[in-house]
């Protein structure tokens, strides 16, 4: 089961779960991700403990997609 998570002030919030074989859940996850992207979040698809890929569309086969806020030099 894949998960869409948003990093926020609560630690993190799970916004959706889906599996590639469940089009309804996938559509729901895509809608949730689009709503957060519109709010200014960026999406990163996790690749286990070693990698991450910046994405703009929900990859159906990703295990974990994390929504993060923008970063800036301090």
């Amino acid at each position: 089961m894949s998960r869409l998570i948003r990093l926020d002030q609560t630690g993190h919030t799970e916004l959706a779960r889906w599996s590639p074989g469940d089009p309804a859940a996938l559509a729901q996850a895509r809608a949730a991700m689009d709503a957060e992207l519109a709010r200014g979040y960026f999406a990163v698809a996790g690749e286990g403990t070693g990698g991450a890929e910046q994405v703009r569309e929900l990859p159906a086969d990703a295990e974990l997609v994390i929504l993060r806020r923008p970063i800036a030099g301090g």
Binding site: L7, T10, G11, A52, E53, Q54, V55, R68, I71
Partner: protein
């Protein structure tokens, strides 16, 4: 937040690069240039003070106290820069009652890293990450890049926007951005110190110092591995 509306690349490049279009994309060459610039600047600041410290006693022994003051300044100025660099590894302020947010954030961060990094996170509150440019030590207010044989460091001030995030979430933000685009990460971040690791270590609290030692050790291992592969 504006970058989200400007046609993000589908994958790869860090979207925040749109906020700093004037900066060249960081690579080995730009990092070396930054190191040289910092060294030159430090020498330019030190030379007049050292010359003053050496010259005054030659003019008159009564000027020895002034010479000592010039020597103290010569020591103090690079120390000030190192203290500024050390800020990136200091823990950000936390809310007394965050409703368990930090624990939840730590749980997720622990899932994002391997066993070795998780152990270091538990000990120091920092995450070490191997990159192509060097070994990164990530804190809540920025990251330190340890390069070469682990003797030289660059401190980068960078943070997730918003003050309401728990500290572990701040590290997770930086880790994800770094993994998505290391060169973009080093470009977006502000360089606050470049210099010797020992000088930075003196300004750190013990847990962060232990983290820096671990990052330097990883950098040395990586260096040895690269040498053995190339020979």
């Amino acid at each position: 937040m504006a970058a989200a509306d400007q046609g993000l690349p589908l994958t790869g490049e860090l979207p925040e690069l749109a906020d700093v279009p004037w900066r060249p994309l960081a690579d080995e060459r730009t990092l070396r240039r930054a190191d040289r610039r910092w060294s030159t600047w430090t020498i330019a600041q030190e030379l007049p003070l050292l010359a003053t410290a050496a010259g005054l006693p030659l003019l008159s022994p009564i000027l020895i106290p002034m010479s000592l003051i010039a020597l103290a300044f010569a020591w103090f100025i690079p120390d000030l820069w190192a203290a500024k660099g050390a800020e990136v590894l200091r823990p950000p302020p936390t809310q007394a009652d965050d409703g368990g947010a930090q624990v939840r954030a730590l749980g997720l961060l622990g899932d994002l890293v391997d066993h070795e990094a998780r152990e270091l996170l538990t000990r120091t509150g920092l995450v070490a990450e191997r990159g192509r440019l060097g070994v990164w030590l990530i804190g809540g207010k920025g990251a330190v890049l340890v390069r070469g044989h682990g003797r030289r460091v660059q401190c980068y001030c960078v943070r997730a926007r918003g003050n309401d995030l728990p500290p572990a979430d701040r590290i997770a933000h930086l880790l994800l951005a770094l993994r998505a685009d290391e060169r973009g990460f080093a470009t977006v971040a502000n360089l606050s110190f470049s210099g010797a690791r020992w000088r930075l270590a003196r300004k750190l609290p013990e847990p962060a110092r232990a983290g820096l030692r671990a990052a330097a050790q990883i950098a040395r291992q990586e260096n040895r591995r690269e040498v053995s592969i190339s020979s």
